[in-house]
């Protein structure tokens, strides 16, 4: 059992999303940063769709009531076990009775906490993701609260051998991290996180030449009204050349749509299934993790790439993650 001592600002259970139900209007939900979530799971021997805790800006305080193997990936929210700082992007043994606490977020916006075996929450429509507005999924359909108790499922043999090794190293100490961590190419450098690659959206040509140019030449800042549904951006207002009648159709994670007042909205994990505003651009999937780690107030610049390049970059990234998964497995064969 893991007891929630303090909930943090917004801590929810998420997996890779609820697929197959968007035709019924059910939003996909799921993690904002799929890459950090997947790597966190790989590091503790889970499959990549196991639920993790998505921790936003101000992290929770959690009391581990039994020994566990955990990992924390994504934004650096200064995790500490019993007061001493622990590293991200690596497997960590935590002893029963210890407390994991998060401090100030130093880099990024959200971290992912995986536990070997995964959190035991019911699946609704094939997913454990929390969908707050409908009150379904995750932990009772809501964000975590003080005194919630999270139980975990039985871990794989692979995970328990990792846990055993770390426990031996730890001796009498309350926790121990592996001395290795994932290759630095997976760890985002937030210095370059303000460059986001996009492709042209379906209605790109509807926009004035000035707006098309402004999209890639001007900086935009993330408005404080942003949430898991979308990032509202502020900058030069983007305008369509003519008032055209848009018929609602599907939108995707990373769709950049522009309502009539001209401030673009980047649709994220909790996006609605369909949208009726013109789509000027689409964030390349390979840069969605970067996008999801932006904090309100931060500035971004879009660069345009081709649809073909976006797919190639995505496939290359996926190959790297597969190699990482293989590498972790080989360590414990």
């Amino acid at each position: 059992m893991i007891k929630v001592v303090k909930s943090g600002m917004l801590t929810t259970v998420q997996d890779l999303g609820r697929f197959g139900y968007q035709k019924h209007g059910v939003i996909a939900s799921g993690v904002m940063d799929p890459e950090a979530h997947r790597i966190a799971n790989l590091l503790v021997g889970n499959n990549s769709n196991s639920p993790t805790l998505e921790i936003t800006l101000v992290g929770p305080e959690l009391e581990f009531q039994e020994d566990a193997l955990i990992s924390i990936c994504g934004g650096n929210s200064s995790p500490m076990i019993d007061g001493s700082p622990v590293g991200l992007w690596r497997p960590i043994y935590i002893k029963a009775g210890s407390e994991l606490r998060f401090g100030n977020i130093k880099e990024g916006c959200r971290s992912y906490l995986a536990v070997a075996g995964g959190y035991a929450v019911p699946e609704i429509m094939n997913s454990t993701s929390t969908y707050l507005r409908a009150g379904i999924g995750g932990y009772e359909g809501r964000a975590l609260q003080k005194n919630d108790l999270l139980s975990t499922l039985e871990m794989s043999e692979f995970s328990s051998s990792m846990l055993k090794e770390l426990k031996e190293y730890a001796g009498n100490v309350n926790w121990k991290a592996m001395d290795w961590y994932v290759a630095t190419e997976f760890i985002p450098k937030h210095a370059d996180s303000n460059q986001i690659r996009v492709m042209k959206g379906r209605e790109f040509d509807w926009f004035t030449k000035e707006s098309q140019t402004a999209l890639v030449s001007e900086a935009f800042s993330v408005d404080t009204k942003s949430d898991r549904m979308g990032y509202r951006l502020k900058g030069v207002p983007l305008k369509t050349a003519n008032k055209q009648n848009m018929i609602s159709e599907a939108v995707a994670f990373g769709t950049v749509q522009v309502p009539s007042e001209g401030n673009p909205i980047v649709l994220l994990a909790d996006r609605q299934t369909t949208g009726g505003y013109p789509k000027i651009a689409q964030v390349a999937s390979v840069d969605l993790p970067k996008m999801a780690q932006l904090k309100p107030g931060e500035k971004i610049k879009f660069t345009m790439i081709s649809h073909e390049d976006a797919q190639q970059l995505f496939l290359e990234r996926e190959r790297l993650i597969q190699q990482l998964a293989q590498g972790i497995k080989l360590k414990y064969r």
Partner: protein, 239 residues
């Protein structure tokens, strides 16, 4: 039938079936979704039908594993698969539509904007109810919120603009009007439609398969009910 394909990002393709909202285009959308529903592909994630489009979400990694030629872009490969799947589409093929009856209580406490809709159209509230409940309706698509139906076919005589200030909370089951569309809010959400009644039916049923009472293609009938019937219905649902 002439289908156009274009990408929605790097993991989805939009199939454009027509360019205007009408029953013929809707029928074609239905035919395509039926074919997709009955097909199984490893690369397929899900589809989202809308008024004039069907969007297919796919897994580019699966595609690159399946395609023997690595120089072919996953998007092009998926478009080819889809177009060969959809070549045999005939305009004559029809999809069976079902009719769903939706009981609606039009009493004042559930209908804060009924008076406004009536005044806008120089009608009595009773006439608005009469026209609304006698209409022939078609669910064009489900979107915006879980189970939210975009219902077409409403009589222009009771059309009304959206509220200037959207309500922060619209109660579950509220029946609304926006322009010449009508719809039902399945869960409590903010919204700007003019509210003229409420149904005791649950449109979003997360524990059921499928989780939405209504589907695109359904014909709808609104059945006026009294407050007492509304209450009775609500109680029955929670037995």
């Amino acid at each position: 039938m002439n289908l156009e394909y274009s990408p929605l990002g790097d993991q989805a393709v939009i199939i454009q079936i027509g360019h205007a909202i009408n029953e013929l285009t809707h029928k074609r959308v239905q035919q395509i979704t039926l074919i997709l529903e009955n097909s199984q592909f490893d690369w397929f994630i899900e589809y989202v039908p809308a008024f004039t489009t069907v969007t297919v979400f796919y897994d580019p990694v699966k595609v690159s594993e399946l395609s023997s030629d690595s120089s072919i872009l996953p998007y092009d490969w998926v478009c080819k698969e889809l177009s060969s799947l959809l070549t045999n589409l005939r305009d004559t093929e029809s999809v069976q539509a079902r009719t769903v009856e939706i009981p609606v209580c039009y009493e004042e406490e559930f209908a804060p904007d009924l008076e406004f809709v009536a005044q806008t159209n120089n009608l009595h509230p009773e006439e608005v109810i009469d026209i609304h409940s006698k209409g022939q309706y078609l669910v064009y698509m489900i979107g915006f919120a879980p189970g939210f139906p975009y219902i077409g076919g409403m009589d222009e005589q009771i059309a009304a603009p959206r509220r200037e200030n959207p309500r922060e909370r619209i109660p579950e089951g509220s029946v609304g009007i926006a322009g010449n569309q009508t719809g039902v809010y399945p869960i409590e959400t903010p919204g700007g439609w003019q509210l003229i009644g409420r149904t005791p039916l649950e449109l979003f049923r997360p524990q059921d398969t499928p989780p939405s009472l209504l589907n695109a293609g359904d014909r709808i009938k609104f059945i006026p009910i009294s407050k007492a019937d509304y209450e009775k219905y609500k109680e029955g649902e929670h037995d």
